[in-house]
Symmetry: C2
Subunit: 388 residues, 2 copies
Amino acid sequence: MDSLHVSYRLRRTADEVEAAARAIAIEQTVEIPDGLISDELRDSVVGRVESIDSSDGVDGCFDVVIAYRVELACGQLSQLLNLIYGNVSILPGVRVVDLQLPPVLLSSFRGPACGIDGVRERLAVAGRPLLATALKPRGSTVTELAAVATEFVSGGGDIVKDDHNLVDAELDGFRERVLRCQEALQAANRETGGSAIYLPNISGPAERLDAMLDVLLDAGVAGALVAPMLLGLDATRALAARATAHSAGRFIVMAHPSFSGSYYHDPGHGIAHELLLGTLFRLAGADASVFPHFGGRFAFRREECIAIGERLREPLGELAPASPAPAGGMQLSNIPDMADAYGADAIFLVGGALLGHSGGLREGTRVFREAIENCFPGGAANDTLNVP
Amino acid sequence: MDSLHVSYRLRRTADEVEAAARAIAIEQTVEIPDGLISDELRDSVVGRVESIDSSDGVDGCFDVVIAYRVELACGQLSQLLNLIYGNVSILPGVRVVDLQLPPVLLSSFRGPACGIDGVRERLAVAGRPLLATALKPRGSTVTELAAVATEFVSGGGDIVKDDHNLVDAELDGFRERVLRCQEALQAANRETGGSAIYLPNISGPAERLDAMLDVLLDAGVAGALVAPMLLGLDATRALAARATAHSAGRFIVMAHPSFSGSYYHDPGHGIAHELLLGTLFRLAGADASVFPHFGGRFAFRREECIAIGERLREPLGELAPASPAPAGGMQLSNIPDMADAYGADAIFLVGGALLGHSGGLREGTRVFREAIENCFPGGAANDTLNVP
């Protein structure tokens, strides 16, 4: 009988932990009082507490592994969330710290359509991390945003994404921005001989998401930025699946962590950073996952960032690996740390430091690109990009 | 210039709080370094810090009000989440504790299609809280679930909802359950002369949600249970809107809090209980919102529950009020407390205590119904239900 295994970290006393583990196994499956559970249900539906151990290095916590029969997840992402952390999200002191998903469940998910290799192929860049920036600030004219794309690509940048705050009241505004910025990007690509890509932000009323995707597909845009916790994780998967079907599998999805922080900010609650921003976003089809690098303006720790990078790229059934995309106030001085933490298969997302570079955006991009290349000597050997 | 006002509780020192407030106003709008912000952007896009005060009763915290121009929300629910708590969800010690939404923004949302009055009309019950139960446990046969519906309705129950763990791998399983349980409910209604309703759980792949809704509409089912944080808040709104359009505004949406706990469990982070489960769920179209009553097996406090009840029913633009639906291990002994906390316009959701009642489910329902009526003497005067 295939099962998925969820490790919960419980902040409970030694006297409480066994009953707490049992209560979770019931809460997440049959949700009825223990005394009403028939032997048949106990064997076939109720979660099975597999182990209870003192938590490594976390005082006053226990790590509890519960096995759930894989059928309970129905091969569905929303139900997977419900099964592993639906009602128990409402309990204090319960955190999901590991997930082991069996192949039969993983096979229900397409995962990243492009993955790291697909993105590299599209860009024709090997051996070094990719350099990305965001079109911003909100409030800029389309001309100003298109100029950011032009300067960044001319300076040797790889990926231009919309800021996740670029949201339009109407589809027309979205279409205009996409077409103008894509045009600017393509013109700059012709100058450099490169293949930089643009990932507009898909965020709007649920009824409009398909039309927004159609705008991108019609414009020949390479992919999109999507915030799974804003749109819904499974809504994101469905959007990615539709994009994949209409682009011969070439559409790139970059996930943004907006509205996700409450799930992982408390080490005693929620879902571990790397499981949400790594494993679960990857199941939803993220080819890359944006998150704050340590040492920026957010509070992620080094080991959390590295764990996200690992989960995005570890073997996971037949799913392609996805790129970590560290961000959040990155300066030139962060580049060696980022190179060390993630290696070559990553996307370094730099915003304000490029926009505010003393020599201008184009020069700033060149400097950052050079700093990345310096961390990966010889790595750009396959790189056909011709930067002036 | 219309603005929406967000009150953030910041866990910061007196020395830090002003810069922290300013950083949030920038992070949530233009997300560029302060020095790069033009005067024009500062006036037109950046959030405006309206006030900074020591937090009432919370040591070491400050309450900061930031005004955002209403245009920034684009009249869209996903963008509203992004604007009030997108990136700042990733910062430690920031909680949304109040939201003031101007009429022009509220008018973008239909809100509850039925509201408290619409649900009452459908049930022909006035003057007392409604009694609801859940079809469960998962793993039961459809015949067993239908029998729960029969017994509950025969005992005088008002609302039968699916347990949120009742999820099917395929549409056929869902359809069979819906049709059989609805049939059982209608047969029981014919016996009692009442108008009890059934709310099946809509949860499945995003691509299937409309087909699931169609099953309900075809079957003449009164509404559905939906978990907004599993499907996505705006996906829930869109589903509710479609249901409303296809049912002449008579489709009832009951929201379930699965997967929502991380947003409010920490008093120093996230979004206050009553804003997420109250205001925001109501914007998404919830006619009723399920949450754990204090004194059950979850850890909600009395004042949190009362605040949810207030937010669901307070004046909010043109939006109809919605029912609080306290739940979570309710016993007969909780009924007076619930009556006191919520008054008549509520739904009391009782599961295990009915299923495990010593006299059987029908008798248990009768006893709970009587206990409710005893708290609202004379309240059932308009109630045409004929309980045997």
